[in-house]
Amino acid sequence: MSIVSSTDILEQRTRRDARHERLFRWLLKGCALIVLAALLGAAGATLWGGREAFTTFGWHFLVSSEWDPGNDVYGALVPVYGTLVTSFIALLIAVPVSFGIALYLSEVAPAWLRTPVASAIELLAGIPSIIYGMWGLFIFAPFFAEHFKPWLTNNLGNKPDDGQLSWVAEHVPFIGKLFGSDYPFGASILVAGIVLAIMVIPFISSVMREVFQTVPTPLKESAYALGSSTWEVAWNIVLPYTRSAVIGGIFLGLGRALGETMAVTFVLGNSMRLSSSLLDPGTSIASAIANQFSEAVGLQKSALMALAFLLFVVTFIVLLIARLMLRRLASKEGR
């Protein structure tokens, strides 16, 4: 009797456990699905909102640099270009600097310094972007216009003040165009890129620092024992060991740079004209939406929604490239 009842109890418990397990699994699945639903919902809503613009302009919307609310003609090329170029500049600066910060904190810095600097970096990540924007507009952009820009335009640009092209501008292709500008102020694509870099450095460097610390000490110590320098250990041991996490961190920063709105709006100059120069004002997808959405009606509003959808697409493509890169790295590793 007692044996039967105990197996009964056991069976009951297994059943209950199984039920709980199922419930838990559903709960977890629900959590994951919320993200998916939110993503699809947002993408779908922007696509639906932008359908008028997409049907009116078709493919032309993607390649036209015109944005003319007066005549109701819209094209996305200028904002898409601005978004990509500012984010690219931001990564160009932020990745090496973040790598340096993370390496210093995990390998070189004395122990007492690590925690305060690491918390300082995390604090930087918490500063609202409007503060970066104000700093960029009131302090950095004028400073840049006064001290850096003249040097850049005169030594690298194709429109120097004295009319004499420098050796670099004459001999290196594209450089002249990139740095030629006769606008006398700071707010520009380059300044926006620099401000963005400062904004994403905390994100990238804190991820890098975390993962650098996961590298097993015996690995590093054996490399040191074989006579490697700190640089060699970082490049040949730490980086390969943490590569996928590092790339993940970089793309986290890139995601932030692509979607950043307020700070960019302040320092980008908000001009809807296509210019090859990094020192000319431009616009980005997020800042164009922030600027125009409150007063937009009809087709203009639809075009802004279409822009928002394009931001999804751009981010998706960038993430896709990241995945492909990781896969290629992984397959190389196997060989």
Partner: protein, 344 residues
């Protein structure tokens, strides 16, 4: 230990008191909600504070932009909308809405030229339009010199600064340029946002003020109050009557008074390029938009009471903020319009 234990109790008592008093006030007062134009936001908040002190009724005004204000009143989520551009008669009719102006303000071109103080440089409409079209791009251009005999202007590239965000300020400014320049009217047209032929965009009045301050040789346009506050050098303008006028309360009032309000329907009139001899050419107003047969009659009644207070007793508050109160004749016309068109 003792104080530690006491503090939360005391805090709780204060909190309860505060909550009780808030509810107590809410019970006897009406809260009305409006949304729209940021152009009138400063004066709206000043009026609503004074009005709440007097009557206990509170106004919650959200400065979300004219477009959003119109969208929200169409949805019926607010008691009144506020727009810097008038709604068309057919739209008003379709939604059963009425509109009327509330206060007048001026928009001034501002410049940053070494050695040029506020009011020293004079421009006319076509020159201003040519500058914003990029056709005139140097301060020593003969057209500018012809308007400014006796003022030595340095050679220097002109950098145009415009609003990057959609705004009523841009709407009125480009409306003026469209009225005075056929090229502008056919190429750029007017609106809260346009495709600017040249220049750089600053976000908000603050953004434009900041850019104009930073960029030597720049010209932008801001609300008068911002030019005064930021000590920017504004320009004088030649008006439709051919006189050169300075931007101030008198010339804004002259524009409001000489604009032909009497023959308009639903006050559908953009005041730029007003005909008066002393009128400032870029003068603007903001329209309040309300349902003729409101869903919430009580709130609507309070809103009208608030507007009556603003039009009849709010002049000083408006002048303090560099707005101009509506001329008495126009106030009479608005009150007649209320009586005739609105059920309240």
């Amino acid at each position: 230990m003792l104080t530690l234990r006491k503090t939360p109790i005391r805090f709780a008592a204060v909190a309860t008191l505060a909550v009780a008093s808030t509810f107590g006030m809410a019970a006897q007062a009406t809260d009305i909600t409006g949304a729209g134009s940021s152009f009138v936001y400063p004066v709206m908040s000043k009026w609503s504070a004074a009005y709440a002190e007097q009557t206990g009724n509170r106004l919650n005004y959200q400065s979300v932009g004219s477009g959003a204000g119109i969208a929200q009143i169409k949805e019926g989520t607010i008691d009144f909308g506020a727009s810097d551009a008038p709604m068309k008669a057919e739209d008003l009719k379709k939604f059963g809405l009425g509109q009327f102006p509330i206060v007048v303000g001026g928009i001034v071109p501002v410049v940053n030229i070494a050695g040029v103080q506020a009011g020293q440089i004079k421009l006319d409409g076509t020159t201003l339009a040519d500058i914003f079209l990029g056709k005139i791009n140097n301060w020593n251009d003969p057209k500018i010199a012809a308007l400014n005999a006796g003022l030595k202007l340095p050679a220097g590239k002109i950098t145009v600064v415009h609003r990057s965000d959609g705004s009523g300020t841009s709407f009125n400014f480009t409306n003026f340029l469209s009225k005075v320049s056929p090229t502008w009217a056919s190429q750029v047209k007017f609106g809260t946002a346009v495709e600017w032929p040249t220049g750089v965009g600053g976000k908000g009045n603050e953004g434009v003020s900041q850019y104009v301050k930073q960029i030597k040789g720049s010209i932008g346009y801001v609300e008068y109050a911002y030019a005064v506050k930021n000590k920017l050098s504004w320009t004088d303008l030649k008006n439709a009557a051919g006189n050169v006028v300075a931007p101030d309360a008198d010339s804004f009032a002259a524009a409001a008074a000489t604009a032909d309000w009497a023959s308009t329907q639903d006050f559908n009139l953009i005041m730029t390029n007003a005909p008066g001899a002393k009128a400032w050419p870029i003068t603007a107003t903001t329209w309040m938009i309300m349902y003729k047969t409101p869903k919430n009659a009580g709130n609507s009644k309070t809103a009208f009471d608030f507007f009556k207070y603003a039009l009849e007793n709010g002049q000083k508050a408006a002048s303090d903020l560099d707005y101009v109160p509506l001329p008495p004749a126009l106030v009479k016309q608005i009150e007649a319009y209320w009586a005739a068109e609105f059920k309240h």
